[in-house]
């Protein structure tokens, strides 16, 4: 099955940023904690590839370490979403129509009703702004997304014959959910995972833009944008580079998500053959 262009570009962009974050653990052009007011606001050149910021820190290194923050927060938030959302969704589908199912669905609608960003701000106000709280705030809003997706996918599978056959073979709903239902909605979760991952990046950028994401000295793209905002007229590049990083990362993930959906969806696959 020949992969589509969107799958390739998506994969390239995503791998680029992931490796960027990975490398930043071992090496960055300049140490990020070290401030040197003397060399502040240098234009991009041979020494500082992308120039320096108002504290004299090398923008390229900041971007690399910032990638680590953004990706870390977004991945863990998706992890929370899957870890809690999927079991809830599967359980709701398993005893469809019961009170438990109703409660899960009502709970989902309730969480969707809350304005996500405002609640994130509230959480960080209560527990103080930090990367962990950002993960929590974004993670909470991933749970209903995955619960709803996995419940929808599972419901359609429960009516299939092979699930009935498994019941005839004496298996109970928990074992059926794990052995039969989960593997067959894995594609669904993978695609939704990439989408929520990209939304997580945007949410983390938003939170740290208003100062509620990862705190100094850990660099984060959102806060780089916020700091650069006041100097946008003197050094526009300070605002352009982090913005571009966010856009390319999110674009990569969305393309990867779309590509995977087409690649894995049997209906599309059959059309393509």
């Amino acid at each position: 099955m020949k992969p589509t262009p969107s799958l390739i570009t998506g994969a390239i962009l995503t791998v680029f940023f992931l490796s960027l974050a990975g490398v930043s653990y071992l090496w960055t052009p300049f140490p990020v904690e070290q401030l040197d007011i003397g060399r502040k606001l240098q234009p991009p050149g041979s020494l500082f590839w992308l120039g320096t910021d108002h504290f004299g820190r090398d923008t390229a290194s900041m971007l690399m370490v910032g990638a680590r923050t953004s990706i870390g927060v977004a991945i863990l938030a998706v992890g929370i979403g899957i870890g809690i959302g999927v079991p809830l969704g599967l359980a709701a589908a398993a005893n469809h129509g019961s009170l438990f199912d109703e409660v899960i669905m009502r709970g989902n609608d309730l969480v969707f009703a809350f304005p996500a960003l405002v609640i994130a701000i509230l959480i960080t106000a209560v527990f103080g702004p930090s990367a962990v709280n950002a993960i929590l705030a974004i993670g909470i809003f991933n749970i209903p997304v995955f619960a709803r997706i996995s419940r929808g996918g599972a419901l359609s599978l429960w009516t299939l014959d092979y699930v009935l056959a498994a019941r005839v073979a004496g298996k109970r709903s928990f074992r059926i959910s794990v052995e039969h239902i989960l593997p067959n909605i894995a594609n669904l979760l993978l695609v939704q995972g990439t989408i929520q991952f990209s939304l997580g990046i945007l949410a983390e950028a938003g939170l740290s833009y208003v100062g509620l994401g990862a705190q100094p000295p850990t660099p984060s793209w959102g806060r780089m944008l916020a700091d650069a905002q006041t100097m946008i007229y003197m050094a526009p590049r300070l605002a352009v580079f982090p913005g571009l990083a966010i856009v390319l990362m999110v674009l990569g993930l969305n393309l990867l998500g779309d590509g995977l959906r087409d690649h894995l969806d049997p209906r599309i696959r059959r059309l393509r053959q």
Binding site: H54, Q229, Y233, M234
Partner: protein, 494 residues
Amino acid sequence: MHKIPRTLAVAGLAALASLGTAEAAKTTITIGMQLEPPNLDPTGGAAAAIDEVVYANIFEGLTRFSADGSIRPALAESWDISGDGTVYTFRLRDGVTFHDGTTCDAEDVKFSLDRARAEDSTNAQKALFAGIADVSVIDPLTVQVTLQNPDGAFTTKMAWGDAVIVAPETIGQAATHPVGTGPFRFTNWVKGDRVEIDRNPDYWGEPVALESATFKFISDPTAAFSAMMAGDIDAFPGYPAQETLAQFEADPRFVVIIGSTEGETILSTNNKADLLSDVRVRKAIAHAIDRQAIIDGAMFGFGTPIGTHFAPHNPDYLDLTGLSAHDPDLSRQLLAEAGHGDGLTLRLMLPPPSYARRGGEIVAAQLREVGIETEISNLEWAQWLEQVFRNKDYDLTIVSHTEPSDINIYARPEYYFQYDNPEFQSLMADYAITADPGMRTALAHQLQTIIAEDYVNGYLFQLARTGVADAGINGLWKNAPTQANDLTGVHWSD
């Protein structure tokens, strides 16, 4: 005394600027401000923004600050002090009326002072009136105030925004519809956007040049810059985005006004914290700090280094920066002596303003150079007040104390940096009661030297007042002896 830091101290979140009104008519002006006042009753709230709208414009006190910080008569035409300095007899100006037409006389003065010092008073600066024993009306134009003991600064205290004279009939809704005796009357307040005032036709003093004025609230630095550039704002006295001042200096349309404030920006140290009770550690911290780097990095060069807790523009200021010069090796040596050769970790709490957030990052980096690791946590004001100020649950924090001549906070052991030095406290008591200028200067120098040598805090710099204004405006205050935007003297030149 300490108030929430003045407008010029805050980089913080977005505020409001009105759309460019028609080509600015010459008799009206739009002033930019960073923080919106929670309400407009100076006697009921501590927020600096309240005074910046109403002080000298809408409300007036017995006395008032002038541009250079000196005190001059306002509603009190003149006063004389009894021999032992405890009885003040104020003679009020005749024919003064409130904006609602009612006359302002001794009864109103007595009401204002009694209300501020009452048991259930919610006046933020209640301590100003603690010294008053009795207020009595001699005749409609004469008020006699008796103090428990002499107070050299009583007339200065009466010039504070919290001591303005209000009428009993109108204090009820002063929070939203202030009625004072000032040259401007309150007309409208669009919450979250602007406050509008206009000229008071029957003002007792000489009429002001401006027809009307609008205070626009913009806290976001970039928004402030865009609003100034786009011409939406005529003047921004407490302009937050110091990094863009260079562009205004280069633009003929604008003039940049650099002044100083009463804001001593310090690295407050919790003297009772176990690691920091050892003076050698505090000394090591002081020597690890490069003040000029912080001024350049956080405030883009605006601000004057200070060696002690005193405003440089004050005549009694003593330059003690030498005591805590930047000397990392000395710091490392002191730390070793104090038994922290392998370094230590301290918690650094930072309130919202940009001097704290940006300054904090630079200080953290400088301390790291000498082996002191810091865990930064950024707090909202509410959290800072509760956790740092009231519960003293912190090691280091950065804050700017913007009250005028507030070195007396070092005499209060329960104050948040918990400095308890009996010798300093007795000296402070003498300073408070001496009126003779020569004696006060000598005492001031001694006080400054003690807290410098004790390395109570890391004294960083005096907050500069960076203002930007349309080149055609004059009469704006250069310095900020108190939190105010006094528009009485402001007028367009062409």
